[in-house]
């Protein structure tokens, strides 16, 4: 029997396990507790003796450090030769033309429109909407109920908080966070942060 090992300790890990019970019913499910700050030093002993050909893994680590914690675990798992599953809740509505890469989680009630791309490691939380033609980069977090409008691009390592609406055709640069609910339109530069007690956007000043 094939294995699916889910790594994580928080709500996301429980959610991944819940989805996997439906989508990987024929697999042996293992939930391996792993706190975010243990990723770098964990030897991932549970994988000892496992055959990468018959074992899938899933990095169920939240959005800490703009999803870099999940990225670190994903990279570690991939280096060990394991394939990362993607978990799509049966209650999500995913257009058949949508491209869903590895280690993606699509929660219940999510709508994923036509010709969309959900990049590696992206997490789309319950009742969020990714509208037609939108492209999500790698290791993105879309919070519950968030809306990514049609033909929008989201750069890698972006956190989109609950209740955030990105208008059609917008471009969000990535390596940033929008946590204040509201409508965002147009272009938001890479390294822009909105929320968490800052009443105006915080910006990265990049090397020039």
């Amino acid at each position: 029997m094939a294995d699916l090992i889910i790594f994580g300790s928080g709500a996301l890990a429980r959610e991944a396990q819940s989805i996997a019970r439906s989508t990987h019913a024929s697999s042996s499910l293992i939930l391996q507790p792993l706190a975010t700050d243990e990723i770098s030093k964990s030897p991932l002993d549970v994988l000892a003796g496992k055959d990468p050909a018959t074992t899938q893994v899933f990095a169920a680590i939240g959005y800490a450090a703009l999803n870099f914690a999940r990225f670190d675990l994903w990279a570690k798992l991939r280096l060990l030769g394991f394939r990362c599953a993607s978990l799509v809740d049966p209650g999500a509505m995913v257009d058949p033309t949508a491209k869903i890469l590895d280690n993606v989680l699509v929660a219940a009630g999510v709508v994923v429109g036509a010709d969309t791309v959900l990049g590696t490691g992206s997490i789309v939380q319950a009742n969020a909407s990714i509208q037609a033609g939108s492209k999500l980069g790698k290791f993105i977090w879309v919070g519950p109920g968030a809306v990514i409008g049609a033909d929008t691009t989201i750069g890698s390592h972006q956190v989109i908080g609950s209740g955030v609406v990105i208008a059609d055709g917008s471009s969000i640069g990535g390596h940033g966070e929008i946590s204040t609910p509201g409508l965002y339109q147009g272009t938001l530069a890479k390294g822009t942060f909105v929320g968490h007690g800052f009443d105006r956007p915080v910006r990265m000043i990049e090397r020039r």
């Binding site: 770098s40 450090a65 703009l66 870099f68 390592h157 390596h175 940033g176 966070e177 890479k190 390294g191 942060f193 968490h196 007690g197 800052f198 009443d199 105006r200 915080v202 910006r203 990265m204 000043i205 990049e206 090397r207 020039r208």
Partner: protein, 371 residues
Amino acid sequence: MRSRLNARHYTSEEVLAREQVALFQRLWIFAGFRTLLSAPDAFLTHQIGGIPIVVQNGRDNVLRAFVNRCAHRGAPIQLDDFGQRRLACPYHGWTYDDAGRVKSIPGNDAHYGFDDACVAGLRLLPVALRCIGNLVFVNLDKDPCPIETQFHQAFLDALADASIYLDDEAIFARFPAAYNWKLNFENVVDWNHVPFVHSTSFAPLMAANRATALPPSPPPDDDATVGNDIRDLSYTTIAPFEMRPWPWHAAVDRFGEKDHYYNFFLYPNVNFISMSGIIFLAQQFMPLQANRSETRLTMCTARTTSRLPALPAILWGHLRAEKQVIDEDIRVLEGLQRGMSEDASPVIHGAYESRLRRIANVYLDLMQTGA
């Protein structure tokens, strides 16, 4: 001992207007990190003493400061806090050379009719600029004092030594608070508030809650002993600090070798900090109104020795932690400001607060001679 400052110094718009002239248009004021301006046409903007300022790196790689007003109608040449863009007015397209002279006026012949002599006399107003290590200072005075008369040479040397470690990427934030700007500088030099206001956030990270002032400052008994040398208001403290180790720390060229919390207090309005030589931040307290101020916060790592893809995440995480600490200060200081009353007695200072009395002495001298 009662403070020589009263509530009016913190609540009066008339006092603030005099401060803008006597302090902010007269002293050397921190403008930003030079490391963020290394490319041609890189710039930052600021508002100092009520005057809009642009610090711009020329295509000749010389850093200059100007009043950020077009010679035509006074529109700002640069609109953003930071960026990379030539000196060109966004309003009517006038452009300027590196030295701030008008270079071109679109449609001059058709619309303006300025002759060559007239155009040659048009320029951006230059502002004095000095770099101490990687810290950029500007001075709006027409005849600026030597920066060495505002800061001790040893302190300038210490600033230069530390700031050469600044990285060339940073995170920048501005946030307002409903209190007078002076309260913020007084607050950061008051180490005794830390265990009370930051008991669960910042205080636990300090291995010893009391910073060791360098040089030590024995508590004076009276104002005569406190003195009024402006250079004494800027100083360094170093205290043991517990910095959680992260793998990325190996990817920076650290300032110093020990886990220390370095404070460089720059009168009148900057707290330049390094956490264990790994994270640097400058907090600058700018007046908006008598009872409103804005903190400009620039944070970076020590200069990186290899690429750090997670740098935005690292800095955002540190900035959020720092904002939590600052919000604890804001809560108390906004309450303090709200409670100010002109009929109340001036506040009382104990022995450890000699620096606050020294600040008041210098401040009153500056206000008397400069406004």
